[in-house]
Subunit: 243 residues, 2 copies
DNA sequence: GCAAAAGTGTTCCGTTTACACCCATGG
DNA sequence: CCATGGGTGTAAACGGAACACTTTTGC
């Protein structure tokens, strides 16, 4: 078994060196999502070293001994994007014995929502390319990362109906159509515009900025803000975003 | 910091010895749920050794090096209850640096649904009591186990609306009222009987066994079975159990 | 004028909710 | 005869789905 593996080892194909600060059997992998031109995109990296060399994978890293899991995920997202404030949630943990070729690594998957225009992609020492991919046009992925993305997309469909996560993907001021695009991208369906507008406005989560879009090649839309105060009051009670 | 901890160490208060088969920094903790007299109950253990000595906690154990996470959870549930077939799902992973007093342990929480009458509680070497607790009357719990249970109850409320998990808690043949009790226990609310019956029957997931309850002190109810075939067909399409 | 998206109105229909009511059985 | 749970009926209110329609803007 081990001999078999050896056959495929090339010069670049060895583990990235790890300092003593990190737990060798625990990593975080982040699903960093953003909206771009009405499409849901995820940030992927092409790695230089290790079993992942020259292949696309999620933005991940090992967890430090003195670091909470959430903190590790936050650190890795900030390091890769420069963004400091973003929505972050744990998705699930993937720990099959054979998911990583060299030894046992358990990875805790997190998903993060960022605004694409706030992102300044930072190339880590161990990546030579970092890029956004349409979730409907993914490249081949290392290890079980495809499975992780598929699981997260299913989870998003579920989640978007019960929490207003969409707002984390939008700039502070946005149009109703931009919001609708997010629901359409996540739910992978077309929604009826009049019905969507009525439904979302009836929730009282939106504040009309009394401003209009500028420089658009069509009638300018009203801009809205998300009312975090109303949301905080409502969420304890529980409510529905079903479509 | 370490000296501080020493102050509270007693004879029994030392770590349980671990063989080389186990990863020292990774455990699974299981939320083993069953229905009992219309109440949702969770199985807890009182431990003999270690930081948890003489306190109630979830049924958990370390993960073996050559064991998938799901397999570890399955092994621990079966070991504690004797049950071999049950519904098992991953909840979330808890890994704060200070959640365990001696060293860093990450725990992956799973929830399991069993039928109380199929359970034969097995006392492990390291527990001197194992018992069912009403989820609304929990004792003090070790480490972050209270937080884990609270998280799982919130997750169940969410989950029960989208998947017919209730059936995993019932015997093969059951009455509509028994099913209603599960929804009421998980959602922590009262439901209207006529409306519940109509709603659940319209889903076509139930098969009338054409049998009646025996020896009950009221009109005997019809018994139903869960139609797994119809469910398998429906679930890809997605459907709703909202109440 | 045309394209593109903003925005409003209305109808239809199934579902939800609330509640009244009768049935069967054991104590 | 009463308590307990089984089981049916129904009317009003609500909410979603579908779609026709008008408005504004830039090219």
């Amino acid at each position: 078994m081990h001999n078999n593996t050896q056959l495929f080892i090339t010069q670049v194909d060895q583990e990235e060196p790890l300092t003593d600060d990190y737990m060798k059997n625990l990593s975080v992998d982040n699903l960093i999502y953003a909206m771009d031109e009405g499409k849901l995109k995820v940030l992927l990296a092409k790695y230089k070293q290790g079993a992942a060399a020259n292949k696309w994978g999620l933005i991940g890293h090992w967890v430090k001994f003195d670091e909470d899991l959430d903190s590790a995920a936050h650190r890795v997202v900030t390091q890769a994007t420069g963004v400091k404030n973003f929505h972050l949630d744990q998705l699930a943990t993937f720990g099959n014995v054979k998911r990583y070729p060299y030894h046992r690594i358990i990875t805790v998957a997190y998903y993060a929502f960022v605004r694409k225009d706030e992102v300044n992609i930072v190339h880590g020492d161990n990546t030579h390319e970092v890029a956004w991919f349409d979730v409907k046009k993914l490249p081949d992925l290392i290890f079980d990362h495809k499975e992780i993305i598929v699981a997260s997309l299913a989870h998003l469909k579920y989640k978007v109906r019960h929490e207003p996560i969409g707002f984390s993907l939008l700039p502070e001021k946005f149009t109703l159509f931009q919001l609708q695009e997010i629901y359409e991208a996540i739910l992978d369906t077309k929604l009826d515009k009049p019905n969507f507008r009525r439904k979302i406005q009836k929730m009282n989560l939106l504040i009309n900025c009394k401003e209009k879009q500028q420089d658009v090649a069509h009638r300018a839309a009203a801009l809205f803000r998300f009312d975090i105060n109303v949301y905080e009051k409502l969420k304890d009670f529980g409510f529905n975003f079903e479509y």
